[in-house]
């Protein structure tokens, strides 16, 4: 999944792109089973801002529920910028979601980091990828 997300993020470079993380969440673990793409409605500042199309959020939520899953987080890219939340990310974040940020260059996804809003700041979450090989 990391590779697929990275390819998608690089495809839109140097514009920011975004989407939803779908899976299951408990108090101590967020399991991302799949991801959904979404349109960035911020065309004027697409190089450093995103506004996720709420219709895409709604569609992803419905599809998730059909599979007994839910939206557990948001992913978006930072073209040529670190995979760390900006002040804008902080100001507009919702508690209760994981925020996966993908730092991209023109050639590759350089870094993946996930963050969760805790009180008034972000704390980094540990990312683990399940080995798909049996």
């Amino acid at each position: 999944m990391r590779e697929d997300l990275g390819r998608l993020a690089v495809l839109h470079h140097p514009q920011e792109t975004c989407g939803l993380l779908v899976g299951r969440a408990s108090d101590s673990l967020v399991e991302v089973v799949q991801f959904a793409s979404a349109r960035n409605l911020n065309r004027e500042r697409a190089h450093d801002r995103y506004l996720l199309d709420p219709e895409d959020f709604l569609r992803a939520d419905r599809e998730a529920r059909r599979e007994a899953l839910e939206i557990v987080g948001i992913w978006h890219s930072h073209p040529d910028s670190p995979a760390r939340p900006s002040s804008t990310d902080l100001r507009l974040a919702w508690a209760g979601y994981s925020y996966l940020i993908i730092s991209t260059s023109g050639q590759a996804a350089r870094d993946f980091r996930s963050w969760r809003l805790t009180d008034d700041h972000f704390e980094e979450e540990r990312l683990e990828e399940e080995d798909p090989t049996p």
Partner: protein, 94 residues
């Protein structure tokens, strides 16, 4: 008055005891939200501002339609309607 279902996104489920859906009655979206707010303290304030309007960073969908493209909070609610509270998701590198 119609019976409707309101879908609650994860960031707001602390106000509903963790419930992802709540049932409510009302003839309009406004009435349904008021009904939900009466049953779940603090939730209505997350959705509506002090003037009783939908907050900038919240979207309300009645079925597939954003209520901003309908009659807003006065949009009539039919029996069995589903209202989705969709958080506005935004940010960026700078």
């Amino acid at each position: 008055m119609s019976q409707a279902t309101v879908r609650i996104p994860a960031p707001l489920r602390g106000f509903t005891g963790g419930a992802a859906e709540v049932a409510a009655r009302g003839g309009s979206v406004r009435e349904v939200l008021r009904s939900v707010g009466a049953a779940h303290e603090g939730l209505e304030r997350q959705i509506l501002n002090e003037s009783g309007e939908v907050r900038e960073f919240v979207n309300l969908f009645l079925g597939d339609q954003n209520i901003r493209s309908l009659a807003g909070l006065d949009s009539p609610v039919e029996e069995g309607a589903v209202i989705h509270i969709v958080p506005a998701v935004a940010g960026g590198a700078s």
